[in-house]
Amino acid sequence: MKQFPVLIVLLPLFSALIIPLLPKKKRFLFGFVSVMFGLLFILSILSYLNVINDGSFRYVFGNYLAMVGIEFLIDPLIALLVLFVSGLSFLIIIYSFSDIQHELKEHQYAYYYCLIMLLMFSMLGMLYTNDIFNTYVFMEILSIVSTAIISIKHKRSNFLASFRYLMLSSIGSLTILMGLAFLYMVTGQLNMDSMSLVISNVWTLYPTNLVLAIGFILIGLAIKSAMFPLHIWLPDAHSSAPSPSSAFLSSLVVKIYIVVLIKVIYRIFGIEIIASLRIDDFILIMASLGMIFGSIFAIGQKDIKRLLAYSSVAQIGYIFLGIGLLTPLGLAAGLFHIFSHALMKSALFLSAGSIIFSTNKRKLIDLDGIGFKMPITMITFSIAALGMIGIPGISGFMSKIYLGLALIADKHPIFLSLILLSSFLNAIYYMPILISSFLKEDVLVKNTLQKDPLPLTMIIPMVIITLSVLLIGLYPQIIMDVIELALPYYF
């Protein structure tokens, strides 16, 4: 049972090695990928159950000392995140089987799934590892793989976006590396737990080093997780990638970096140091700027996927707002929003992808009457969009309640009013889409209710994601209980 995390991390890596060797037939490739993802999902369920029943545990590679070797720390939150990542990516992968046939050429399929497997490998590794340098290695893999995934469509806009992403994330990685170097100078450790022990002892001796380290790491991770003024790579990258990859990047990849940031803030430095340096104010201000400006930029967009990308910028602001409070309530709210936003945003990207798949329309003005042609797609879109606005019964509403409670309990009413303003702005850009799709007549044909012109492999993942959005919206305890179980590991 204790070996499951290693299996979970290595399974995608080996599949990535095997995929290029498979016979060049679609059936083999799709079959192999779905079996691997299914296996991954089952393993992560088992590992999750194991952690919930027996409590968290550490896994040390090769029985080296934790100081020298690499250590995995599996607490309930990480186990849940791994389960969530593998489950959601399983659904997105099933969706992608049909969608990439529209977006990619046939000889690229193997590349694409090879890259997706590497993406899974680095994401899962980054979640599990308890070693800061190991995190950095996974981070580099992840950013290079993401660049490759963005540029896989051979188009000018993709190359431009992926080049910008590559440059910025390299700058980010270098910044993080610089920060890690400063940290290592002081602590001489790379294991997170030993690091935090040393830091709490030597904090008064070497404040300059530690302060530089935290500044560099924060900015580097802010680039990677698209905190507001450093979000610049995100809209281009997420809107030009193939739709399943947009869903991957927007709902999972960015969140992994946020989890790393949580580890750095709460586990390595500890909230006392962070609070005394007033880093939390910085995060809160950036988060609220992101919430407002992300929404404002989203209102100004004409392309549906770009709009969703900017909406992600705003929603990442919500998550940072929760994290920046440095209270258990705030962290729980931020973590809950990681889950709820991942679900809602993947539903939105997948339904937008379905629209592009079947009608080739991306412009918002062209969407008139689309709700009659693709009812299931647009109902998915509507439920997720209403969740973003904060209609009760959908998971976005619970995020808002949790965040609001955390903010009021920590006496930050101004940020609460900013959240509410941002949800009003969300209504302003999501509602016109719903209205034009359900209430405006198509220019060419009369609106009559039809069946979605989509294969079942695209409809079923969307429906499952929508149902889970509603399930979490009605029973937030499913996730909240686990988060509460995991909170002691972070304080």
Partner: protein, 712 residues
């Protein structure tokens, strides 16, 4: 003779089966109402019979049904289930779908009646796990009365709407969202705490939005946008209040909590203000009523009848519920008058809000030529009466029962006559395709039955004795007199305004009736098609209820409203002294009413003579414009600082209109302005930000590192 009989048969409607079916349901509904009235009054001669029925097998079954707490949930979900069934049926046949709709609405009406025993014992149904805080459903006599009046009017409007909607497109979508609206309204009424209420309230906003924009014209889309965004804004206000209340009070349930609420300090004014704005937006309260006169006229007539008749009452119900919850002390036998202090302040504010709402509504209604718009403005003014009643209730505290009774009675009455008036306009519109009152006249000859029904409704809303409006208006007036006796003398001004506004209402409906039905029949209307009998039957049902209430005002008061009063903490002696023994046809009231009618006639004559009904303020003086002035100004300054002209940015994506002129820009309202501003910011800064990536990174990194280094 034979031909006339044949003609008679034809006007029963295109679909005969629907007509026969709904006529049966119609009579069944009245039989049910009659049985219910007998059950309530329990005349001694029938008591044995009732007891016998109860012990029979059927009686036992029904007793079990009515005492099952899940019944509340069943009532809420019946329209939802129905809506999906109708969606499927509607793909094949309009007639079968409409029969099914009438049937399902009838079932909810009957099941609603069966809630009575639970309403008396105030049962609660809890779902602890849902939505983290748990949902709860509760029924008391207040919500029971609302449920009954909602489903009853819904039933009649559904009978009416069948033939009306045949002229509209996308009927399936319309009926789907109509059923969803019904279910969310029932959910709002049967909610046991603020969160549950909010849940259904938001669903109601969204589903009723689909009814407003059903026409898909530019006008209805514009009205719909306004309705939707103001509704979402109200929802956000309620959400904020919910979050604050969880933190401060700790519970969201609708139990009286005045003393606990008083302990949380000044934030209580903020919470209650947020809730008033949130619910007041739906109710059409004075400064936030701007969406109502736009949204109600553009909806298809059955929808406007329900929007004006039922939906805005949900806002009033919300305010009433909030008032009862926050201004009533926990212990009903508490004789501590200080516990009612909070209500006194809130009530005084509410009284003035109510009277201003009435004044604005009536004044603007008198200026309208579009009949539907006029009715919409009257909805605002009549909501003012209800808010006034609620305000007096809170102001008088322990003795506020009379204000409560007036407000609740007026909710019922207004629902009846306002939906009826909208249905009348709908029938006329169906034949002559005209809403402008000045272009009609003499239609009495073409629509005799409709004219009689319209006359009844007009008498009802104008508050003429023997019709229902009189009853509730005189109750509210009595309450106002009590408030003047016990309270601040400034309320005398309120009473004068009250009389003036009532006269204005009379004037307005003299105008309405005489311009539409009296006078000379226009040439082009000589040959217009006649009304459909089944629609008139539906209208006659509501008219009958209006007359019945008007003739015997004490029945509803004694058997439904007074028990509802005694479920709250009101003074029992006061109720016995002033409400139970109240004589509605006292000479004093009748004389006052006579004076009001004469004043109304005088205003009407003066208005016609001096063309007072065509006063129009310049468009720069609307409430909307005043509220938006700061935003407007900020936008202009921002653009001037950039050295650009606003119109240059106007060709950006805007959902309202393709008109890119300056005048279109000026008339776009708040949301349009946010759109323009965001487009502007996006165009100016989006690419700049993206191009300056390295610069932003360097600045940010330097800033944070130097800030941190300075700090240590």
């Amino acid at each position: 003779m034979v031909t006339s009989f044949f003609n008679e048969f034809k006007v029963w409607g295109r679909y005969r089966r629907f007509s026969i079916f709904s006529a049966i349901i119609f009579s069944l509904a009245f039989i049910a109402l009659g049985v219910f009235a007998l059950y309530l009054s329990q005349p001694p001669s029938l008591r044995c019979l009732l007891l016998g029925l109860q012990s029979s097998l059927l009686g036992q079954l029904l007793t079990h049904l009515s005492q099952n707490t899940l019944l509340k949930l069943i009532i809420i979900f019946i329209p939802v289930v129905g809506s999906f069934i109708q969606m499927i049926i509607g793909r094949f046949s309009d007639q079968r779908r409409d029969i099914s709709i009438v049937l399902w609405t009838f079932i909810s009406f009957i099941l609603g009646l069966f809630l009575y025993p639970q309403a008396v014992s105030q049962t609660t149904l809890n779902f602890k796990d849902i939505l983290f805080l748990g949902l709860s459903f509760r029924v008391d006599l207040l919500s029971y009365i609302m449920v009954i009046i909602t489903t009853l009017i819904w039933l009649f409007v559904m009978m009416y709407s069948h033939h009306y909607m045949l002229h509209e497109i996308h009927r399936n979508r319309f009926y789907f969202f109509l059923s969803l609206t019904l279910s969310s309204i029932l959910g709002t009424l049967l909610a046991g705490d603020l969160l549950t209420m909010f849940l259904f309230f938001e669903i109601m906003t969204l589903s009723s939005f689909m009814l407003v924009t059903h026409g898909e014209s530019a006008e209805s889309l514009f009205a719909g946008y306004q309705y939707l965004f103001i509704g979402v804004f109200g929802g956000i206000m309620i959400l904020l209040a919910i979050i604050l209340q969880i933190i401060t009070v700790g519970t969201l349930s609708f139990e009286p909590m005045a003393i606990r609420f008083e302990q949380i300090g000044l934030i209580r004014y903020f919470i209650i203000g947020l809730l008033f704005v949130g619910f007041g937006i739906k109710a059409g309260m004075a400064p936030v009523h701007v969406w109502l006169p736009r949204a109600h006229p553009v909806a298809p007539t059955p929808a406007s009848a329900l929007l004006s008749g039922i939906l805005i009452k949900i806002g009033a119900y919300g305010i009433l519920r909030v008032m009862i919850t926050y201004t009533f002390p926990e212990d009903p036998f508490l004789d501590l008058y200080s516990a009612w202090n909070f209500g006194e302040i809130i009530g005084y504010i509410m009284i003035w809000i109510g009277i201003i709402t009435m004044l604005i509504g009536v004044f603007l209604a008198l200026q309208q030529s579009n009949a539907k718009k006029m009715l919409a403005y009257h909805s605002i003014s009549q909501m003012g009466y209800i808010l006034l009643g609620i305000g007096i209730m809170a102001y008088l505290g322990k003795n506020g029962s009379i204000g409560f009774a007036g407000a609740l009675y007026h909710i019922v009455n207004h629902a009846l006559f306002k939906s009826l008036l909208f249905m009348v306009i709908g029938i006329i519109y169906l034949s002559i395709h005209e809403y402008d009152m000045y272009k009609m006249g003499g239609l009495y000859k073409r629509f005799p039955i409709t004219a009689i029904i319209a006359f009844i409704a007009c008498l009802g809303i104008a508050g003429i004795p023997l019709f229902n409006g009189f009853v509730s208006k005189s109750l509210i007036h009595h309450a106002l007199e009590k408030a003047i006796t016990y309270g601040h003398p400034s309320l005398l001004l309120v009473e004068w305004l009250f009389i003036l506004i009532s006269a204005g209402t009379v004037t307005s409906f003299i105008k309405f009736f005489s311009f539409i039905f009296l006078g000379k029949l226009k040439k082009e209307h000589m040959t217009c098609s006649q009304s459909i009998r089944i629609m008139e039957l539906a209208m006659a049902g509501i008219a009958l209820v209006i007359v019945l209430i008007g003739l015997n005002p004490h029945f509803v008061l004694d058997y439904l409203i007074v028990p509802a009063l005694s479920q709250s903490a009101f003074d029992v002696h006061f109720i016995e002294k002033y409400i139970l023994t109240m004589n509605f046809f006292a000479v004093k009231d009748l004389i006052l009413m006579g004076q009001i009618v004469i004043l109304g006639f005088v205003i009407f004559k003066l208005g016609v003579k001096y063309h007072l009904f065509h006063l129009h303020f310049s468009s720069s003086f609307t409430i909307e414009r005043i509220l938006m002035y700061p935003i407007n100004k900020a936008l202009q300054i921002y653009i001037q600082l950039r050295g650009k002209r606003l119109v240059d940015y106007w060709n950006a994506y805007n959902p309202y209109t393709d008109d890119k002129s300056m005048s279109a820009l000026k008339s776009q309202g708040f949301i349009g302005r946010v759109f323009t501003l965001s487009n502007l910011i996006t165009r100016l800064h989006e690419n700049n930000l993206i191009r300056n990536d390295a610069f932003i990174y360097v600045v940010l990194l330097t800033a944070i590192v130097s800030f941190l280094l300075l700090l240590i």
